[in-house]
Symmetry: C2
Subunit: 575 residues, 2 copies
């Protein structure tokens, strides 16, 4: 049986579905249309094209064997017909035709289908403020825009840039402008932390600080009011300051491009995406949809969610290709795995942050662990920072986030948890994850295993914790004298702190604690710190045994405090 | 309730169990005994101490915060008593006492217990041949031996070394001797491949070749007959040659050290390990055991297996610690995750190799995929080689092995599969693994996803494959003229091959194949190759459609052949 498959959209999901289908059913005909000129490109590579890491836009559109994925490629290699600059205007589901317009000639026509695929992607949000149409104000939604941005930057026309939005795309572009081109770049974010929804407060502090040490000014909790300039943008006016800017990038999220589906009467999700079942079929069985234009099931909350990610689009494309050919492939949903590079570090995660878990109605808590990324006796190593979000009571793991150096070690840990997250793991499953071990790659008790152990100890009340954020709050209020820090490290490490803050910081090395219990005050709340939180946990157990229980173990220890920019060593105390 | 816990063995599992138990039940007493002087060290770090990467043996015995884990440490920090140089002689289960001998004084005594933990580890196998007691012949089973080996090497006393056994330890030590100290090192392996049981034949070829390019001579399929020398070792005599040697390392595996358990009448496994249940309890409920002295369930075969790995010992130690305190923690078993560095590459795996799967009775097949480790348009990238072992029919995934550069990208992929392997994933689960994606770390369709897809296509008969090993065999027999290679790459890539082998190698680029079908001979078996196996798969589909079905797609393409040392480009053909 030869069938006619029509695919609207030829960037990520469309080509994947087309090729998979043709391999399964070579006798059928596939036509793919796209409103743009450039098709089948790696959109997630745009920041690396802007930076110059990727030298030509063609590279984003090429196969690994250097063939350009243009209409000729799809015809000769894949036997798929592609029409570019061709816009779908409406779908007539009864007649099974799509009205299209050739954007070159302006002519309209109708294209028939037996099966239709919607791969219409997403549209970038634009701020509802004055000045967004000034020259020099961009979103970063396609290659054409990226080329325009890089042209300006590479010709030296940009001295100062403002990125609005501290999400993944915004920060990647900020790094590209700042690091490779030396553009003075600042980021303005309306929420009170960067990467909201991706990182919890503590890891966000660390990433924020890293951006600042690399010269990117990040202003959180700040609202952009308007862009100003004569013809071209010159200034960004926020509720707190005026920033000079030759270039503005609006990176304030995207939303599903579902207007064709809506007008055709297909079911939509509450978030405005095309609604699909597990086979990625819309409410019309002859129409499939996937990628950025749909909402799929968030496998932690069970609710529809928008995951505009090229990786999911590709996997969904294959599922659709199989099902177009009469198969029965399913796409269950996603847990939201992600990773990004920020200068010299990587941040990554899967599932929910602590904040998102609470918003979703979970009675959630989180634990932070700091440990070397490989055997501590191995010469090359770095500290890694991982946060596990868990449900109290059940011990169910809801999410994980982490920060490490820019190598692959961080994403490798997230890989392991992302792989099991949909199957409702508990902390014990993390404790027992069987990660490959060898000193150049991991620890015998890897940081992931330690994370599961620590979360379990926290949930069972054995490890009563304070995160760096809470430590900062206590430290701010230390003037009341209610709190005392007990530093469980060796005297040489604790000494600068004790010297600066004699009334607030006391050193009792953990290995001396059992015999120095009478030095521990019983009338103050104790914050126990060591280098990473291991010895202070041990100290807490000793103090518990001695009946001293008003203690909190500072998670991640001084290493985490330093990474958050909260190190009190240098400050001079007035107390 | 205060109890007396006695632990025999203080290297990995013992200390972990002791510390976990003491945190849960601080009022109880724990005594740990060990026959050695040095306790609680990272045995897996020994090759890195021999190489000099780890400068002092103390570092293997220290915490990440530089405290030496000696008896004083365990007393002050952990409230655990340790007796070194104390050998357990026998267990009286009725009286609940262990007879011990102080190896310093020779005095014997009895130590009572309420609960006993056997952490007696493993003993290295020694070859049953003449000369193993010559000076200069070592196993690598403890720090004392490692110190002796490094002393010889660092004092310049070793010019030539022979390592017997090409398992993980043998190869790590060979690298240490060769790379850091410049010792002329050769490895002799009785089996016909290196890392048997860890890698399949194709990846083993690649790793073997890498060792040889780095100057380590590896002789497989060769049996050592005896060591010879006057007082100290001078020669290794095999069934094929005589190798000069100042130093011999026997790295021919280890076996559970279970003699105490056996003599006490505890149940053993067929492989000679202590038998334990999921709570890691022996056949005597008052006695727990774990680490190298037990066999645990292999979660793929369901049978008992010996996994002498520090990582598992640590996790088992925590389970025992919990259960000593009346908890109910379980250790289900292991899938056998592992990783090792070999000079500039890493090799890793989990579950069964193709050979092991067949031996275990599975109707198994495997697929090899070669792809970049990150987005192909990202400037820094390397090819990665992954093999997936699957059960025919069910599509169940039985194992994965891989080879990549020495970074963390390889182990990160294995992490993801190792995490789900015990839950009987199918190829679809690998295809849909939700790995975090960003161009600096991975591909939109990551190599792991591609591996699942390829395995599915193979199992469903759409991708009929030949692995490099089979290619080598066909190529060897090419004189018969039965086989023709169709090179689907661009002419510039294929040209050197066609020139050298005009009768055996023909170039039809895949994008021209549909219109050049009449050039394809129908009377010869066709081996389809491209660079990595993607275009040749596409070509196979086109040929199938044209009714030409006596074709095999060479997995991993020319990239895999080259990596295996099987590149026919340079050879001159007589055909």
């Amino acid at each position: 049986m030869s069938r006619q498959v029509l695919i609207i959209g030829a960037v990520a999901l469309g080509p994947k579905a087309a090729c998979r289908f043709k391999r399964l059913e070579p006798e059928s005909r596939v036509v793919m249309i796209d409103q743009g000129e450039i098709i089948s490109y790696g959109g997630c590579g745009i920041p690396y094209f802007i930076s110059g890491d990727v030298s030509e836009p063609d590279q984003l559109q090429s196969t690994s064997f250097h063939m350009l994925r243009d209409p000729r490629f799809f015809r000769d290699v894949k036997d798929v017909e592609v029409l570019t600059r061709t816009r779908a205007l409406s779908i007539n589901r009864k007649q099974k035709v799509v009205a299209v317009r050739d954007e070159r000639s302006g002519e309209t026509s109708e294209m028939p289908y037996d099966l239709l695929v919607l791969a219409t992607g997403s549209v970038p949000n634009r701020l509802p403020i004055p000045g967004t149409d000034l020259d020099g104000v961009f979103t970063v939604s396609n290659i054409e825009e990226a080329v325009a941005i890089r042209n300006r930057v590479s010709r030296g026309l940009v001295e100062q840039a403002v990125v609005v939005g501290a999400g993944a795309i915004g920060l990647e572009v900020a790094e590209a402008l700042s690091d490779l081109w030396g553009v003075e770049t600042s980021v303005v974010e309306i929420r009170d932390q960067i990467l909201a929804g991706f990182l919890g407060r503590n890891l966000a502090r660390m990433a924020h600080r890293h951006l600042q040490t690399r010269g990117v000014e990040v202003n959180t909790g700040e609202t952009v009011l308007r862009f100003e300039g004569e013809g071209k943008v010159e200034r960004v006016v926020t509720d707190q300051r005026i920033l000079k800017a030759d270039l503005v990038i609006m990176a304030v999220g995207v939303r599903p491009n579902a207007h064709l589906a809506r007008e055709a009467g297909l079911e939509l999700t509450p978030g405005g995406g095309v609604a699909v079942n597990e086979r990625l079929q819309t409410s019309d069985p002859a129409i499939y949809a996937g990628g950025d234009c749909v909402e799929i099931t968030h496998l932690i909350t069970g609710k529809p969610a928008h995951f505009p990610l090229g990786s999911l689009a590709n996997r969904q494309g294959r599922v659709i290709g199989t099902n177009l050919a009469g198969g029965n492939a399913v796409f269950e949903g996603a847990v939201g795995s992600w990773v990004m590079k920020i200068f010299d570090i990587s941040v990554a995660g899967a599932g929910l942050t602590l904040g998102a878990a609470k918003t979703a109605g979970f009675d959630a808590a989180s634990t932070l662990v700091v440990q070397f990324d490989r055997a501590h006796f191995f010469p090359e190593k770095d500290l890694m920072y991982l946060e596990l979000v868990v449900e109290k009571g059940s011990g169910r793991v809801l999410g994980i986030q982490g920060l490490g150096n820019k190598g692959d070690g961080m994403v490798g840990r997230i890989n392991a948890v992302a792989a099991i997250l949909k199957d409702r793991p508990t902390t014990a499953d993390i404790s027992n994850l069987e990660l490959p071990y060898s000193p150049p790659f991991s620890s015998a008790m890897d940081i992931l295993n330690a994370l599961g152990n620590t979360a379990e100890n926290m949930l069972e009340g054995r490890n009563r914790t304070a995160d760096p954020d809470f430590f900062a709050q206590c430290w701010e209020e230390r003037g009341t004298g209610e709190t005392l820090v007990i530093d469980c490290r060796a005297p040489r490490n604790a000494e600068p702190y004790v010297r600066s803050h004699p009334w607030h910081w006391k050193n009792i090395p953990q290995d001396e604690l059992r015999r120095r219990l009478d030095e521990v005050p019983r009338d103050r709340k104790l914050l126990l710190v060591c280098n990473t939180g291991v010895r202070s946990f041990e100290a807490q157990r000793i103090l518990d045994q001695a009946g001293i229980s008003d203690t909190l173990n500072v998670q991640g220890g001084v290493a985490a405090l330093k990474k958050c920019g909260l190190d009190p060593a240098g400050e001079q105390d007035d107390g």
